[in-house]
């Protein structure tokens, strides 16, 4: 039974899927995913098997899920801010920075930003991601605008998912098996 299920297509290149599901086998799945078009997905999924009364365990797995999603959103925000802070600057050489905030989790993810004089690119490495990248041309306002819209959209969707998970009532999740 779906407690919530959201599919959002707002950018040129990504779809956000967010859901919480309970089933009669005693499992709950919390999932948030960003599918980057033709380049794989960025996922956080937690599945918990429980006997319908183990509120402590359920609370624990929900908290872990929230930490992972928060880490992901925070790292992505840092990457976005780093890119924005370098938008108007010229460089003598390539500059790179690696964001590794979320590698400790079950779905390790690494953000890697590279800027040259013409482009800023953000690469996202991790499971099910085939060299996904989001970038923009520094000399094109429309290119930057599209990139900004997509980055903001993805980040906001992670936060929205968190609000939805935190808003779930325990009694909705618990199932008498």
């Amino acid at each position: 039974m779906k407690l919530f299920n959201r599919n959002e297509i707002t950018g040129r290149s990504y779809v956000v899927q967010s859901s919480a599901t309970k089933c009669n086998t005693g499992k709950v799945a919390l999932s948030v995913g960003v599918r980057l078009q033709e380049k794989g997905r960025l996922y956080r999924t937690n599945v918990l098997s429980f006997d319908g009364t183990d509120i402590k365990m359920l609370t624990k797995v929900m908290a872990e899920h929230c930490v992972e999603v928060t880490d992901l959103a925070t790292a992505m925000t840092e990457v976005r801010d780093w890119c924005e802070s370098r938008r108007g600057k010229e460089l003598a050489d390539k500059e790179t920075v690696t964001f590794t905030k979320v590698v400790e989790q079950e779905w390790p993810t690494m953000f890697y930003a590279v800027q040259s004089n013409t482009r800023i690119d953000v690469y996202i490495y991790g499971r099910d991601l085939d060299n996904a990248s989001i970038g923009f041309r520094k000399d094109r306002v429309d290119s930057y605008r599209n990139w900004k819209e997509e980055m903001d959209g993805i980040i906001n969707n992670f936060w929205t998912h968190l609000e939805e998970v935190e808003g779930l009532r325990m009694q909705d999740l618990l199932i008498a098996v």
């Binding site: 989790q105 690494m110 890697y112 060299n131």
Partner: protein
């Protein structure tokens, strides 16, 4: 000027029925661009590659010691950074091999050095050990094996050791390259 190759080696082997090629090469081309790289290629699953390219100007060598040193310093810095990255990769493989011999918990190893950041992610169950490698030009590479089969375990560990040895061999060959000698010749 012809392309001058300092060292080149290509090793073909197989891993879980996929071709693994280890290619390393250091050369200077006709535009005086020095390039050194090592690639571990995994069939269609991508490449773990490390590459450093530096432009040399041999003319500087005959313009006096000051000009020579001025040119050489950044080149040496870049090459030292490259060597450090190779060392870091070797460390990750060492830690992975240690973990495979005693996989008590899942792990994430990460290097953020150079232009090729890498994550090695290990998980295990009663059935198998999974070692996934993520990074630039790597497409969901899995170096794992089934734990129920002693032959597969031995084979898997051996292949990991092979990859590690390829990196060590490259590092040693690379460290022996004498950039100064090349510049002095011209």
């Amino acid at each position: 000027m012809m392309r001058h190759i300092f060292a080149e080696r290509r090793l073909l082997t197989s891993f879980r029925n996929r071709t693994v090629a280890c290619c390393n090469r250091s050369s200077i081309n006709e535009k005086n661009v020095f390039m050194t790289q090592i690639d571990l290629e995994f069939g269609s699953n991508g490449t773990i590659g490390l590459k450093t390219v530096v432009a040399l100007n041999p003319v500087m060598a005959v313009r006096g010691l000051e000009a020579y040193l001025e040119q050489l310093a950044p080149v040496k810095d870049k090459l030292a950074a490259h060597l450090k990255t190779v060392d870091e990769y070797i460390r990750l493989f060492d830690e992975t091999i240690d973990w495979v011999n005693n996989p008590e918990r899942r792990f994430n190893l990460v290097t953020t050095l150079g232009y090729n950041p890498l994550i090695i992610h290990g998980t295990y169950s009663d059935r198998d050990v999974k070692i996934e490698v993520f990074g630039r030009n790597i497409f969901n590479l899995n170096l794992g094996f089934e734990v129920g089969s002693p032959g597969q375990v031995a084979y898997g560990v051996q292949r990991l050791n092979d990859l590690r040895d390829c990196l060590v061999e490259y590092r040693d060959a690379f460290a022996a390259i004498e950039i100064e000698q090349y510049i002095n010749k011209h």
